[in-house]
Symmetry: C2
Subunit: 201 residues, 2 copies
DNA sequence: GTCTATACGCCGATAGAC
DNA sequence: GTCTATCGGCGTATAGAC
């Protein structure tokens, strides 16, 4: 029993370290990119020694992969939740935009890392450890909309690309400071652009 | 006279080397990114020795900058030409999409480098040697359209972002192989999405 | 003037000191 | 078990050989 508690505490500490490392790595990857971030950078920012870092992760690539899988899963969960709690395709898409804009303001680094970084740099091997790409769910929503007639009958890849293009580009403009106000201030206009593009008739 | 000819030939050779270096660099930057491309890579691909490369360019950053300025200028020229030879905003925007799609098929590496690479990596210093960002002209076209009433009265930054977002994302999908057919086959659908989004009433 | 060999610094990863 | 000192490798840039 005592031993178990002891190990639990140890495990908790380990998890804390892990989180600190991932937090710092996320921050650095988002700012400078994967290749331009060194273990030394991560060490300095997280105040965790090199050996501890290598104790937690096999190598630098593993850190980026873990981050990606973790964040992509959370994104996917949120999108599933949206698909579940809304009925019309229009409502679902609105909720997606709302979520993305909100996330951009709340956790800009997450969006920088998920949307704007070259995943190819650390995901060379195709397999994503059973992790679905973060926006597959959006495509599903759109395909359903085409079937039900809520969305225009155009190749779903194109409609999906259009939707993601508008949203991602807008977020990019916000993240680089071109858009000066929080994204919710632009929501109505952006949503109007999106919906005009894709709604049926 | 003879000397002049001699020097001309020499100059031509130099220019040829320069072009070969830039060609190879473009190819590599587009495929692997700036940071992951080494001088050794450029040397191998161009069959030009290290010393010759450093004879032409001060350092690696200079190569990327030269490429960027060169390509951005050409893009800007094309966009000016489009603004000149078309009258309505609709026609101009159509021509822009057409140009971008065509360029993607003809010179995919150029588009990869101009649209999808982290310019921040080699353009840290703000000054671009008197080179306008490649798509400023598009924003001008759109602003004019808003004034004349051809385009919806929405913050021009958002409309511009919407337009660029759709186009760039579509190009990205083509470049990564998701879209299997040449882009001209998708032109009508994409243009329809774009124009539905931005046209006034 | 052209190329090859090398200096120098940085990074990822480890192994040995405490 | 932790940390720090270091190793090997690579990448940029240069300096010296031809």
């Amino acid at each position: 029993m005592i031993k178990e508690t002891k190990e639990n505490i140890k495990q908790k500490e380990k998890d804390e370290f892990r989180d600190q490392i991932l937090d710092s790595a996320l921050n650095l990857f988002a700012a400078k990119g994967y290749s331009n971030t060194s273990i030394e950078d991560i060490k300095r920012k997280s105040n965790i020694s090199t050996s501890r870092i290598y104790g937690q992760f096999k190598n630098k690539q593993t850190i980026a992969k873990a981050l990606y899988v973790d964040l992509a899963r959370r994104m996917d969960d949120s999108l599933c939740e949206i698909a579940r709690t809304n009925t019309t395709v229009r409502e679902r898409m609105r909720a997606v935009v709302d979520l993305m804009f909100d996330l951009t303001e709340q956790a800009p680094d997450v969006m920088r890392f998920l949307l704007l970084s070259r995943h190819q740099e650390f995901l060379l091997d195709g397999e994503l450890q059973g992790c679905t790409p973060p926006f597959d769910k959006v495509k599903d929503i759109i395909m359903k909309g085409i079937k039900t007639g809520e969305i225009r009958r155009i190749d779903s890849l194109l409609v999906d690309g259009c939707f993601q293009g508008i949203i991602i580009r807008t977020i990019e403009l916000r993240l680089d400071g071109t858009l000066e106000k929080p994204l919710d201030r632009y929501f109505n206009d952006v949503w109007s652009l999106v919906w005009s593009a894709v709604e049926a008739i």
